[in-house]
Protein backbone atom coordinates (compact mmCIF):
# COMPACT_ATOMS: atom_id res chain seq x y z
CA UNK A 1 0.00 0.00 0.00
CA UNK A 2 2.66 2.47 1.02
CA UNK A 3 4.66 1.26 -1.93
CA UNK A 4 2.00 2.14 -4.46
CA UNK A 5 1.50 5.47 -2.76
CA UNK A 6 5.12 6.41 -3.12
CA UNK A 7 5.21 5.18 -6.69
CA UNK A 8 2.24 7.22 -7.77
CA UNK A 9 3.74 10.70 -7.78
CA UNK A 10 6.79 9.43 -9.60
CA UNK A 11 4.82 8.03 -12.48
CA UNK A 12 2.78 11.22 -12.56
CA UNK A 13 5.91 13.27 -12.86
CA UNK A 14 6.43 11.79 -16.32
CA UNK A 15 3.66 14.09 -17.42
CA UNK A 16 6.38 16.69 -17.17
CA UNK A 17 6.19 18.92 -20.17
CA UNK A 18 5.66 22.06 -18.33
CA UNK A 19 8.77 22.57 -20.44
CA UNK A 20 8.75 22.76 -24.22
CA UNK A 21 12.21 21.19 -24.31
CA UNK A 22 10.50 17.83 -23.94
CA UNK A 23 7.76 16.11 -25.86
CA UNK A 24 4.58 15.40 -23.97
CA UNK A 25 3.76 11.93 -22.68
CA UNK A 26 1.19 11.39 -25.43
CA UNK A 27 3.61 12.41 -28.17
CA UNK A 28 6.37 10.27 -26.70
CA UNK A 29 4.17 7.22 -26.49
CA UNK A 30 2.94 7.76 -30.03
CA UNK A 31 6.56 7.98 -31.21
CA UNK A 32 7.56 4.63 -29.72
CA UNK A 33 4.41 2.76 -30.76
CA UNK A 34 5.70 1.50 -34.15
CA UNK A 35 8.92 0.29 -32.55
CA UNK A 36 7.05 -1.47 -29.78
CA UNK A 37 4.75 -3.14 -32.30
CA UNK A 38 7.72 -4.43 -34.31
CA UNK A 39 9.53 -5.63 -31.16
CA UNK A 40 6.40 -7.39 -30.00
CA UNK A 41 5.84 -9.24 -33.27
CA UNK A 42 9.45 -9.92 -34.19
CA UNK A 43 11.26 -10.27 -30.87
CA UNK A 44 9.34 -10.60 -27.62
CA UNK A 45 6.54 -12.90 -28.77
CA UNK A 46 8.76 -15.35 -30.70
CA UNK A 47 11.39 -15.53 -27.94
CA UNK A 48 8.70 -16.01 -25.29
CA UNK A 49 7.16 -18.81 -27.37
CA UNK A 50 10.56 -20.43 -27.73
CA UNK A 51 11.16 -20.37 -23.99
CA UNK A 52 7.67 -21.74 -23.40
CA UNK A 53 8.32 -24.58 -25.87
CA UNK A 54 11.41 -25.63 -23.89
CA UNK A 55 9.14 -26.41 -20.96
CA UNK A 56 6.69 -28.32 -23.16
CA UNK A 57 4.94 -31.21 -21.51
CA UNK A 58 5.19 -29.37 -18.22
CA UNK A 59 8.49 -31.05 -17.41
CA UNK A 60 12.09 -30.06 -17.17
CA UNK A 61 13.15 -33.17 -19.06
CA UNK A 62 14.92 -31.23 -21.81
CA UNK A 63 16.94 -29.30 -19.27
CA UNK A 64 17.75 -32.51 -17.41
CA UNK A 65 19.12 -33.83 -20.67
CA UNK A 66 21.38 -30.81 -21.13
CA UNK A 67 22.79 -30.87 -17.65
CA UNK A 68 23.18 -34.63 -17.26
CA UNK A 69 24.60 -35.67 -20.61
CA UNK A 70 28.33 -34.83 -20.54
CA UNK A 71 28.35 -34.10 -24.28
CA UNK A 72 26.00 -31.15 -23.92
CA UNK A 73 27.74 -29.73 -20.89
CA UNK A 74 31.02 -30.05 -22.73
CA UNK A 75 29.62 -28.00 -25.61
CA UNK A 76 28.46 -25.32 -23.19
CA UNK A 77 31.88 -25.08 -21.56
CA UNK A 78 33.70 -25.21 -24.84
CA UNK A 79 31.50 -22.34 -26.09
CA UNK A 80 32.51 -20.21 -23.12
CA UNK A 81 36.13 -21.25 -23.58
CA UNK A 82 36.17 -20.36 -27.28
CA UNK A 83 34.49 -17.04 -26.58
CA UNK A 84 37.13 -16.30 -23.96
CA UNK A 85 40.05 -17.25 -26.21
CA UNK A 86 38.62 -15.19 -29.07
CA UNK A 87 38.20 -12.19 -26.75
CA UNK A 88 41.76 -12.42 -25.44
CA UNK A 89 43.18 -12.91 -28.94
CA UNK A 90 41.19 -9.94 -30.24
CA UNK A 91 42.45 -7.82 -27.37
CA UNK A 92 46.10 -8.77 -27.81
CA UNK A 93 46.03 -8.28 -31.57
CA UNK A 94 43.59 -5.38 -31.60
CA UNK A 95 45.01 -3.12 -28.92
CA UNK A 96 48.20 -2.25 -30.83
CA UNK A 97 46.12 -1.49 -33.91
CA UNK A 98 43.81 0.79 -31.93
CA UNK A 99 46.80 2.50 -30.35
CA UNK A 100 48.39 3.02 -33.74
CA UNK A 101 45.16 4.47 -35.15
CA UNK A 102 45.04 6.98 -32.31
CA UNK A 103 48.71 7.94 -32.62
CA UNK A 104 49.33 8.21 -36.32
CA UNK A 105 49.08 11.34 -38.41
CA UNK A 106 45.98 11.91 -40.46
CA UNK A 107 46.82 10.15 -43.71
CA UNK A 108 48.32 6.99 -42.23
CA UNK A 109 45.60 6.77 -39.58
CA UNK A 110 43.03 6.85 -42.40
CA UNK A 111 44.77 3.91 -44.06
CA UNK A 112 44.83 1.88 -40.84
CA UNK A 113 41.21 2.82 -40.11
CA UNK A 114 40.24 1.59 -43.57
CA UNK A 115 41.94 -1.77 -42.79
CA UNK A 116 39.67 -2.06 -39.74
CA UNK A 117 36.46 -0.87 -41.40
CA UNK A 118 36.68 -2.84 -44.63
CA UNK A 119 36.29 -6.24 -42.94
CA UNK A 120 33.59 -4.77 -40.69
CA UNK A 121 31.63 -3.73 -43.76
CA UNK A 122 32.07 -7.12 -45.40
CA UNK A 123 29.28 -9.49 -44.50
CA UNK A 124 30.14 -12.20 -41.97
CA UNK A 125 29.03 -14.82 -44.47
CA UNK A 126 31.54 -13.66 -47.06
CA UNK A 127 34.36 -13.50 -44.55
CA UNK A 128 33.58 -17.01 -43.33
CA UNK A 129 33.48 -18.18 -46.93
CA UNK A 130 36.89 -16.62 -47.52
CA UNK A 131 38.27 -18.52 -44.55
CA UNK A 132 36.84 -21.75 -45.92
CA UNK A 133 38.67 -21.13 -49.19
CA UNK A 134 41.87 -20.14 -47.42
CA UNK A 135 41.93 -23.08 -45.03
CA UNK A 136 40.49 -25.95 -47.04
CA UNK A 137 42.50 -29.02 -47.97
CA UNK A 138 43.54 -27.71 -51.39
CA UNK A 139 43.19 -24.08 -50.31
CA UNK A 140 45.68 -21.26 -50.57
CA UNK A 141 47.46 -21.79 -47.28
CA UNK A 142 47.97 -25.50 -47.83
CA UNK A 143 49.14 -24.89 -51.41
CA UNK A 144 51.68 -22.38 -50.15
CA UNK A 145 52.86 -24.69 -47.39
CA UNK A 146 53.37 -27.63 -49.74
CA UNK A 147 54.93 -25.59 -52.55
CA UNK A 148 57.45 -23.80 -50.36
CA UNK A 149 58.19 -27.00 -48.56
CA UNK A 150 57.77 -26.79 -44.79
CA UNK A 151 55.23 -29.60 -44.84
CA UNK A 152 55.07 -32.81 -46.87
CA UNK A 153 51.35 -33.02 -47.50
CA UNK A 154 48.43 -30.68 -46.88
CA UNK A 155 47.50 -30.08 -43.23
CA UNK A 156 44.03 -30.46 -41.81
CA UNK A 157 43.25 -26.82 -41.13
CA UNK A 158 39.55 -26.46 -41.71
CA UNK A 159 36.80 -28.01 -39.58
CA UNK A 160 38.96 -27.68 -36.45
CA UNK A 161 38.60 -25.70 -33.25
CA UNK A 162 41.66 -23.64 -34.30
CA UNK A 163 39.96 -22.63 -37.55
CA UNK A 164 36.87 -21.54 -35.64
CA UNK A 165 38.94 -19.43 -33.25
CA UNK A 166 40.96 -17.89 -36.08
CA UNK A 167 37.92 -16.96 -38.16
CA UNK A 168 35.90 -15.70 -35.18
CA UNK A 169 38.82 -13.58 -34.01
CA UNK A 170 38.95 -12.07 -37.46
CA UNK A 171 35.23 -11.35 -37.49
CA UNK A 172 35.06 -9.89 -33.98
CA UNK A 173 38.34 -7.94 -33.80
CA UNK A 174 36.83 -4.69 -35.17
CA UNK A 175 34.37 -4.74 -32.24
CA UNK A 176 37.41 -4.74 -29.95
CA UNK A 177 39.46 -2.17 -31.84
CA UNK A 178 36.79 0.51 -32.23
CA UNK A 179 35.86 1.08 -28.55
CA UNK A 180 39.54 1.08 -27.55
CA UNK A 181 40.31 3.50 -30.35
CA UNK A 182 37.53 5.89 -29.38
CA UNK A 183 38.71 5.86 -25.75
CA UNK A 184 42.33 6.46 -26.73
CA UNK A 185 41.44 9.22 -29.15
CA UNK A 186 39.45 11.02 -26.45
CA UNK A 187 42.51 11.09 -24.16
CA UNK A 188 44.04 14.54 -24.12
CA UNK A 189 47.69 14.20 -25.21
CA UNK A 190 48.59 16.40 -22.26
CA UNK A 191 48.37 13.43 -19.89
CA UNK A 192 51.22 11.62 -21.62
CA UNK A 193 53.14 14.87 -22.04
CA UNK A 194 52.77 15.52 -18.33
CA UNK A 195 53.98 12.00 -17.51
CA UNK A 196 56.98 12.46 -19.80
CA UNK A 197 57.66 15.86 -18.30
CA UNK A 198 57.58 14.29 -14.86
CA UNK A 199 60.33 11.90 -15.85
CA UNK A 200 58.60 8.81 -17.22
CA UNK A 201 60.10 7.16 -20.26
CA UNK A 202 57.80 6.34 -23.20
CA UNK A 203 57.15 2.82 -21.93
CA UNK A 204 56.53 3.93 -18.34
CA UNK A 205 54.23 6.70 -19.55
CA UNK A 206 52.29 4.16 -21.58
CA UNK A 207 52.00 1.67 -18.73
CA UNK A 208 51.25 4.25 -16.04
CA UNK A 209 48.98 6.62 -17.93
CA UNK A 210 47.71 5.49 -21.33
CA UNK A 211 46.96 1.89 -20.43
CA UNK A 212 44.87 2.51 -17.29
CA UNK A 213 43.00 5.34 -19.00
CA UNK A 214 42.16 3.09 -21.94
CA UNK A 215 40.59 0.43 -19.71
CA UNK A 216 36.97 1.57 -20.21
CA UNK A 217 37.40 0.97 -23.93
CA UNK A 218 39.14 -2.35 -23.30
CA UNK A 219 36.27 -3.51 -21.09
CA UNK A 220 33.60 -2.32 -23.49
CA UNK A 221 35.28 -4.07 -26.40
CA UNK A 222 35.94 -7.26 -24.43
CA UNK A 223 32.36 -7.60 -23.21
CA UNK A 224 31.04 -6.90 -26.70
CA UNK A 225 33.37 -9.50 -28.25
CA UNK A 226 32.64 -12.10 -25.62
CA UNK A 227 28.86 -11.73 -25.79
CA UNK A 228 28.83 -11.82 -29.60
CA UNK A 229 31.18 -14.81 -29.61
CA UNK A 230 28.86 -16.78 -27.30
CA UNK A 231 26.07 -16.81 -29.86
CA UNK A 232 28.01 -16.95 -33.11
CA UNK A 233 26.52 -19.27 -35.68
CA UNK A 234 27.58 -18.65 -39.28
CA UNK A 235 31.34 -18.82 -38.81
CA UNK A 236 31.51 -22.00 -36.67
CA UNK A 237 28.84 -23.59 -38.85
CA UNK A 238 30.93 -23.12 -42.00
CA UNK A 239 34.50 -23.35 -40.65
CA UNK A 240 34.03 -25.71 -37.71
CA UNK A 241 33.47 -29.45 -37.79
CA UNK A 242 31.71 -32.06 -35.69
CA UNK A 243 34.56 -32.01 -33.17
CA UNK A 244 34.33 -28.28 -32.63
CA UNK A 245 30.64 -28.01 -31.78
CA UNK A 246 29.49 -24.82 -30.05
CA UNK A 247 26.12 -24.01 -28.51
CA UNK A 248 24.93 -22.21 -31.64
CA UNK A 249 25.96 -25.00 -33.99
CA UNK A 250 24.45 -27.56 -31.63
CA UNK A 251 21.14 -25.69 -31.77
CA UNK A 252 21.46 -25.53 -35.54
CA UNK A 253 22.06 -29.30 -35.70
CA UNK A 254 19.07 -30.04 -33.47
CA UNK A 255 16.74 -27.96 -35.62
CA UNK A 256 17.95 -28.70 -39.15
CA UNK A 257 19.12 -32.29 -38.88
CA UNK A 258 17.44 -33.90 -35.87
CA UNK A 259 14.31 -31.72 -35.89
CA UNK A 260 14.10 -31.92 -32.10
CA UNK A 261 12.54 -28.49 -31.61
CA UNK A 262 11.73 -28.63 -27.88
CA UNK A 263 15.29 -29.68 -27.08
CA UNK A 264 16.65 -26.95 -29.37
CA UNK A 265 14.39 -24.53 -27.52
CA UNK A 266 15.86 -25.64 -24.18
CA UNK A 267 19.41 -25.24 -25.54
CA UNK A 268 18.46 -21.78 -26.83
CA UNK A 269 17.05 -20.82 -23.45
CA UNK A 270 20.28 -21.89 -21.74
CA UNK A 271 22.38 -19.94 -24.25
CA UNK A 272 20.09 -16.92 -23.84
CA UNK A 273 20.37 -17.14 -20.06
CA UNK A 274 24.18 -17.35 -20.19
CA UNK A 275 24.34 -14.40 -22.58
CA UNK A 276 21.97 -12.26 -20.52
CA UNK A 277 23.86 -13.18 -17.37
CA UNK A 278 27.09 -11.83 -18.85
CA UNK A 279 25.34 -8.76 -20.23
CA UNK A 280 23.79 -7.97 -16.85
CA UNK A 281 27.06 -8.62 -15.03
CA UNK A 282 28.94 -6.23 -17.28
CA UNK A 283 26.04 -3.91 -18.03
CA UNK A 284 27.99 -0.88 -16.90
CA UNK A 285 31.01 -1.53 -19.06
CA UNK A 286 29.08 -2.60 -22.14
CA UNK A 287 28.59 0.41 -24.31
CA UNK A 288 26.92 -0.55 -27.53
CA UNK A 289 27.09 2.94 -28.89
CA UNK A 290 30.79 3.36 -28.31
CA UNK A 291 31.83 0.99 -31.06
CA UNK A 292 29.14 1.82 -33.54
CA UNK A 293 29.31 5.56 -33.35
CA UNK A 294 32.93 5.62 -34.36
CA UNK A 295 31.90 3.67 -37.42
CA UNK A 296 30.87 6.80 -39.26
Amino acid sequence: MTRSLTLLPRSLSFRRPSSARFYSLTTSLALVTPLLAALMAGFLYPVARLVALSFSGGTLSHYRRIFTEPLHLEVLFSTIEVAFIVTVASLLLGFPVAYLMAQLGKGLAMAVTACVFIPLWTSVLIRSYAWVVLLQRNGIINTLLVDTGPTEGPLKLIYTQGAVILAMTHVLMPFMILPIYSTLRALPPDYVRAARNLGAGPVRAFVAVTLPLSLPGVFAGSVMCFVLALGFYITPALVGGPNSMLMATLIGQQTTVLLDWPFAAALSTVLLAVTLLFVLMFRRTLSLSKGLNSVY
Binding site: A20, V32, A41, F43, W121, T122, G231, I234, T255
Partner: protein, 288 residues
Protein backbone atom coordinates in the same frame (compact mmCIF):
# COMPACT_ATOMS: atom_id res chain seq x y z
CA UNK B 1 84.08 9.70 -32.47
CA UNK B 2 85.06 10.33 -29.66
CA UNK B 3 86.20 9.60 -26.33
CA UNK B 4 86.60 13.32 -26.20
CA UNK B 5 82.96 13.71 -26.91
CA UNK B 6 82.05 11.18 -24.27
CA UNK B 7 84.23 12.90 -21.75
CA UNK B 8 82.62 16.20 -22.54
CA UNK B 9 79.26 14.64 -22.05
CA UNK B 10 80.37 13.12 -18.82
CA UNK B 11 81.44 16.47 -17.55
CA UNK B 12 78.45 18.54 -18.54
CA UNK B 13 75.53 16.19 -18.30
CA UNK B 14 72.94 18.92 -18.16
CA UNK B 15 73.74 20.25 -21.62
CA UNK B 16 71.44 18.90 -24.25
CA UNK B 17 73.62 17.20 -26.79
CA UNK B 18 71.98 17.56 -30.16
CA UNK B 19 75.07 16.35 -32.01
CA UNK B 20 75.19 13.03 -30.21
CA UNK B 21 75.77 10.06 -32.46
CA UNK B 22 73.02 7.47 -32.35
CA UNK B 23 73.77 5.17 -29.46
CA UNK B 24 73.26 1.45 -29.45
CA UNK B 25 70.19 2.08 -27.31
CA UNK B 26 68.69 4.21 -30.03
CA UNK B 27 69.39 1.46 -32.55
CA UNK B 28 67.69 -1.14 -30.42
CA UNK B 29 64.74 1.19 -29.93
CA UNK B 30 64.47 1.66 -33.69
CA UNK B 31 64.61 -2.09 -34.13
CA UNK B 32 61.86 -2.46 -31.56
CA UNK B 33 59.67 0.06 -33.35
CA UNK B 34 60.22 -1.73 -36.65
CA UNK B 35 59.35 -5.07 -35.06
CA UNK B 36 56.15 -3.69 -33.54
CA UNK B 37 55.30 -2.03 -36.83
CA UNK B 38 55.80 -5.30 -38.68
CA UNK B 39 53.61 -7.08 -36.13
CA UNK B 40 50.82 -4.56 -36.55
CA UNK B 41 51.26 -4.80 -40.31
CA UNK B 42 50.65 -8.54 -40.09
CA UNK B 43 47.49 -7.97 -38.04
CA UNK B 44 46.22 -5.48 -40.63
CA UNK B 45 46.99 -7.94 -43.43
CA UNK B 46 45.11 -10.61 -41.48
CA UNK B 47 42.13 -8.24 -41.20
CA UNK B 48 42.09 -7.42 -44.91
CA UNK B 49 42.98 -10.81 -46.37
CA UNK B 50 39.51 -12.43 -46.47
CA UNK B 51 37.93 -9.38 -48.09
CA UNK B 52 40.72 -9.06 -50.62
CA UNK B 53 40.79 -12.72 -51.55
CA UNK B 54 37.29 -12.83 -53.05
CA UNK B 55 38.15 -10.64 -56.04
CA UNK B 56 40.97 -12.84 -57.50
CA UNK B 57 38.89 -15.91 -56.74
CA UNK B 58 35.96 -14.56 -58.73
CA UNK B 59 38.21 -13.89 -61.74
CA UNK B 60 40.06 -17.21 -61.74
CA UNK B 61 39.69 -19.64 -64.67
CA UNK B 62 39.89 -22.72 -62.50
CA UNK B 63 37.18 -23.58 -60.03
CA UNK B 64 39.62 -23.55 -57.15
CA UNK B 65 41.98 -20.74 -56.34
CA UNK B 66 45.56 -21.01 -57.44
CA UNK B 67 48.39 -18.68 -56.76
CA UNK B 68 49.29 -17.08 -59.07
CA UNK B 69 45.84 -17.46 -60.69
CA UNK B 70 45.82 -19.11 -64.10
CA UNK B 71 43.95 -16.94 -66.58
CA UNK B 72 41.30 -14.27 -66.03
CA UNK B 73 37.64 -14.70 -66.77
CA UNK B 74 34.25 -13.14 -66.08
CA UNK B 75 32.42 -16.43 -66.57
CA UNK B 76 31.52 -16.75 -62.87
CA UNK B 77 29.86 -13.34 -63.00
CA UNK B 78 27.85 -14.28 -66.04
CA UNK B 79 26.96 -17.54 -64.30
CA UNK B 80 25.66 -15.52 -61.39
CA UNK B 81 23.65 -13.07 -63.46
CA UNK B 82 22.18 -15.84 -65.64
CA UNK B 83 21.21 -18.20 -62.85
CA UNK B 84 17.47 -17.78 -62.10
CA UNK B 85 17.92 -19.07 -58.52
CA UNK B 86 20.64 -16.55 -57.71
CA UNK B 87 18.70 -13.73 -59.37
CA UNK B 88 15.51 -14.60 -57.52
CA UNK B 89 17.35 -14.63 -54.20
CA UNK B 90 19.09 -11.33 -55.02
CA UNK B 91 15.87 -9.52 -55.94
CA UNK B 92 14.04 -10.98 -52.97
CA UNK B 93 16.80 -9.78 -50.61
CA UNK B 94 16.97 -6.39 -52.27
CA UNK B 95 13.22 -5.88 -51.91
CA UNK B 96 13.36 -6.90 -48.24
CA UNK B 97 16.40 -4.73 -47.54
CA UNK B 98 14.82 -1.63 -49.08
CA UNK B 99 11.55 -2.12 -47.22
CA UNK B 100 13.46 -2.82 -43.99
CA UNK B 101 15.46 0.37 -44.50
CA UNK B 102 12.22 2.33 -44.63
CA UNK B 103 10.49 0.72 -41.66
CA UNK B 104 13.54 0.48 -39.39
CA UNK B 105 14.68 4.04 -40.12
CA UNK B 106 11.26 5.56 -39.53
CA UNK B 107 10.41 3.54 -36.41
CA UNK B 108 13.93 3.85 -35.01
CA UNK B 109 14.16 7.59 -35.60
CA UNK B 110 10.78 8.18 -33.97
CA UNK B 111 11.81 6.09 -30.98
CA UNK B 112 15.20 7.81 -30.71
CA UNK B 113 13.45 11.18 -30.57
CA UNK B 114 11.17 9.96 -27.80
CA UNK B 115 14.09 8.43 -25.92
CA UNK B 116 16.18 11.62 -25.99
CA UNK B 117 13.58 14.36 -25.94
CA UNK B 118 10.39 12.77 -24.69
CA UNK B 119 9.28 11.96 -21.19
CA UNK B 120 8.76 8.25 -21.22
CA UNK B 121 8.02 5.99 -18.33
CA UNK B 122 10.38 2.96 -18.33
CA UNK B 123 12.72 4.68 -20.73
CA UNK B 124 15.80 2.61 -19.90
CA UNK B 125 13.79 -0.61 -20.14
CA UNK B 126 12.58 0.41 -23.56
CA UNK B 127 16.10 1.27 -24.64
CA UNK B 128 17.45 -2.08 -23.45
CA UNK B 129 14.60 -3.85 -25.19
CA UNK B 130 15.19 -2.05 -28.47
CA UNK B 131 18.90 -2.94 -28.42
CA UNK B 132 18.09 -6.52 -27.41
CA UNK B 133 18.11 -8.01 -30.92
CA UNK B 134 21.76 -6.96 -31.19
CA UNK B 135 22.74 -8.89 -28.06
CA UNK B 136 20.51 -11.94 -28.22
CA UNK B 137 22.28 -14.56 -30.37
CA UNK B 138 20.83 -14.55 -33.85
CA UNK B 139 20.56 -18.32 -33.88
CA UNK B 140 18.04 -18.01 -31.03
CA UNK B 141 16.11 -15.35 -32.89
CA UNK B 142 16.20 -17.48 -36.01
CA UNK B 143 14.79 -20.54 -34.26
CA UNK B 144 12.23 -18.42 -32.36
CA UNK B 145 11.06 -16.60 -35.47
CA UNK B 146 10.76 -19.86 -37.42
CA UNK B 147 8.61 -21.35 -34.67
CA UNK B 148 6.42 -18.24 -34.52
CA UNK B 149 6.14 -17.73 -38.29
CA UNK B 150 5.72 -21.32 -39.49
CA UNK B 151 2.13 -21.78 -38.21
CA UNK B 152 1.19 -18.40 -39.70
CA UNK B 153 2.71 -19.33 -43.08
CA UNK B 154 5.02 -16.36 -42.82
CA UNK B 155 8.26 -18.27 -43.50
CA UNK B 156 9.71 -17.40 -46.87
CA UNK B 157 7.31 -14.48 -47.15
CA UNK B 158 8.17 -10.87 -47.76
CA UNK B 159 6.20 -9.76 -44.71
CA UNK B 160 7.84 -12.29 -42.39
CA UNK B 161 11.30 -11.18 -43.50
CA UNK B 162 10.30 -7.54 -43.15
CA UNK B 163 9.24 -7.98 -39.51
CA UNK B 164 12.33 -10.05 -38.64
CA UNK B 165 14.83 -7.76 -40.36
CA UNK B 166 13.21 -4.59 -39.01
CA UNK B 167 13.76 -5.90 -35.50
CA UNK B 168 17.36 -6.81 -36.35
CA UNK B 169 18.12 -3.45 -38.01
CA UNK B 170 16.40 -1.15 -35.54
CA UNK B 171 19.18 -1.19 -32.87
CA UNK B 172 21.65 0.30 -35.37
CA UNK B 173 19.18 3.05 -36.22
CA UNK B 174 18.45 3.84 -32.58
CA UNK B 175 22.13 4.05 -31.62
CA UNK B 176 23.04 6.23 -34.58
CA UNK B 177 20.06 8.57 -34.48
CA UNK B 178 20.15 8.90 -30.67
CA UNK B 179 23.70 10.20 -30.94
CA UNK B 180 22.59 12.67 -33.62
CA UNK B 181 19.62 13.93 -31.62
CA UNK B 182 21.81 14.35 -28.56
CA UNK B 183 24.16 16.54 -30.56
CA UNK B 184 21.24 18.66 -31.76
CA UNK B 185 20.77 21.84 -29.73
CA UNK B 186 17.16 21.84 -28.45
CA UNK B 187 17.23 25.64 -28.30
CA UNK B 188 16.92 25.60 -32.09
CA UNK B 189 13.60 23.85 -31.72
CA UNK B 190 12.53 26.39 -29.08
CA UNK B 191 13.53 29.13 -31.49
CA UNK B 192 11.35 27.55 -34.18
CA UNK B 193 8.40 27.37 -31.77
CA UNK B 194 9.03 30.97 -30.81
CA UNK B 195 8.95 31.88 -34.49
CA UNK B 196 5.44 30.43 -34.64
CA UNK B 197 6.11 26.90 -35.92
CA UNK B 198 4.11 24.04 -34.44
CA UNK B 199 5.80 20.79 -33.33
CA UNK B 200 5.40 19.12 -36.69
CA UNK B 201 6.72 22.09 -38.65
CA UNK B 202 9.56 22.47 -36.15
CA UNK B 203 10.50 18.82 -36.69
CA UNK B 204 10.45 18.82 -40.46
CA UNK B 205 11.92 22.29 -40.99
CA UNK B 206 14.47 22.50 -38.18
CA UNK B 207 15.13 19.22 -36.36
CA UNK B 208 15.20 16.82 -39.31
CA UNK B 209 17.52 18.90 -41.54
CA UNK B 210 19.98 19.02 -38.67
CA UNK B 211 19.95 15.32 -37.81
CA UNK B 212 19.74 14.12 -41.41
CA UNK B 213 23.38 12.92 -41.61
CA UNK B 214 22.74 10.59 -38.68
CA UNK B 215 19.44 9.42 -40.15
CA UNK B 216 21.09 8.76 -43.53
CA UNK B 217 23.88 6.76 -41.90
CA UNK B 218 21.26 4.85 -39.93
CA UNK B 219 19.41 4.03 -43.15
CA UNK B 220 22.60 2.60 -44.69
CA UNK B 221 23.25 0.52 -41.56
CA UNK B 222 19.68 -0.75 -41.69
CA UNK B 223 20.00 -1.67 -45.35
CA UNK B 224 23.21 -3.62 -44.81
CA UNK B 225 21.93 -5.21 -41.60
CA UNK B 226 19.12 -6.70 -43.66
CA UNK B 227 20.97 -7.40 -46.91
CA UNK B 228 23.98 -9.08 -45.27
CA UNK B 229 21.95 -10.96 -42.68
CA UNK B 230 22.23 -14.74 -42.94
CA UNK B 231 21.51 -16.50 -39.64
CA UNK B 232 17.86 -15.52 -39.18
CA UNK B 233 17.36 -15.67 -42.95
CA UNK B 234 18.67 -19.24 -42.85
CA UNK B 235 15.78 -20.23 -40.61
CA UNK B 236 12.88 -18.22 -42.01
CA UNK B 237 13.62 -18.88 -45.69
CA UNK B 238 11.86 -21.65 -47.54
CA UNK B 239 11.74 -22.99 -51.10
CA UNK B 240 9.46 -20.23 -52.31
CA UNK B 241 11.27 -17.36 -50.62
CA UNK B 242 14.99 -17.58 -50.19
CA UNK B 243 17.27 -14.67 -49.32
CA UNK B 244 20.69 -14.24 -50.87
CA UNK B 245 22.27 -15.02 -47.50
CA UNK B 246 20.52 -18.37 -47.26
CA UNK B 247 21.39 -19.19 -50.88
CA UNK B 248 25.07 -18.42 -50.24
CA UNK B 249 25.12 -20.41 -47.03
CA UNK B 250 23.74 -23.46 -48.83
CA UNK B 251 26.18 -23.15 -51.69
CA UNK B 252 29.20 -22.74 -49.43
CA UNK B 253 28.18 -25.88 -47.59
CA UNK B 254 27.29 -28.07 -50.57
CA UNK B 255 28.32 -26.45 -53.84
CA UNK B 256 31.52 -24.50 -53.39
CA UNK B 257 32.16 -22.84 -56.78
CA UNK B 258 33.73 -19.48 -57.67
CA UNK B 259 30.21 -18.19 -58.41
CA UNK B 260 30.06 -17.48 -54.68
CA UNK B 261 33.22 -15.42 -55.05
CA UNK B 262 31.56 -13.43 -57.83
CA UNK B 263 28.45 -12.85 -55.68
CA UNK B 264 30.66 -11.92 -52.74
CA UNK B 265 32.60 -9.41 -54.81
CA UNK B 266 29.38 -7.75 -55.92
CA UNK B 267 28.11 -7.61 -52.32
CA UNK B 268 31.43 -6.35 -50.91
CA UNK B 269 31.59 -3.66 -53.57
CA UNK B 270 28.03 -2.58 -52.71
CA UNK B 271 28.75 -2.47 -48.96
CA UNK B 272 32.03 -0.60 -49.33
CA UNK B 273 30.47 1.88 -51.72
CA UNK B 274 27.54 2.60 -49.40
CA UNK B 275 29.56 2.77 -46.18
CA UNK B 276 32.39 4.69 -47.82
CA UNK B 277 29.89 7.30 -49.02
CA UNK B 278 28.40 7.69 -45.55
CA UNK B 279 31.86 7.88 -44.05
CA UNK B 280 33.02 10.54 -46.48
CA UNK B 281 29.86 12.61 -46.23
CA UNK B 282 29.90 12.63 -42.45
CA UNK B 283 33.64 13.24 -42.34
CA UNK B 284 33.29 16.26 -44.58
CA UNK B 285 30.39 17.59 -42.55
CA UNK B 286 32.12 17.27 -39.21
CA UNK B 287 35.21 18.96 -40.61
CA UNK B 288 33.39 22.01 -41.98
Amino acid sequence: MSTEHAQLRGRVPAVIDIFAAPTSRAYSRAAGIIAIGAGIGCVLFFLLLPTLIVLPMSLSETDYLEFPPRGLTLKWYSAYFNDPDWMAATWFSLKIALATTATATVAGTMAALAIVRGCLPFRSTLQALALGPMIVPHIILGVALYLAFAPLQLTGSFFGFLVAHTVLAVPYVIITVTASVQRFDPTLELAALNCGANRLQAFFLVVLPNIIPGVAAAAVFAFLASFDEATVAFFISDISGKSIGRKMFEDIDFNLTPVIAAVSTVLVATSLLLMGTVHLLNGRRSRS
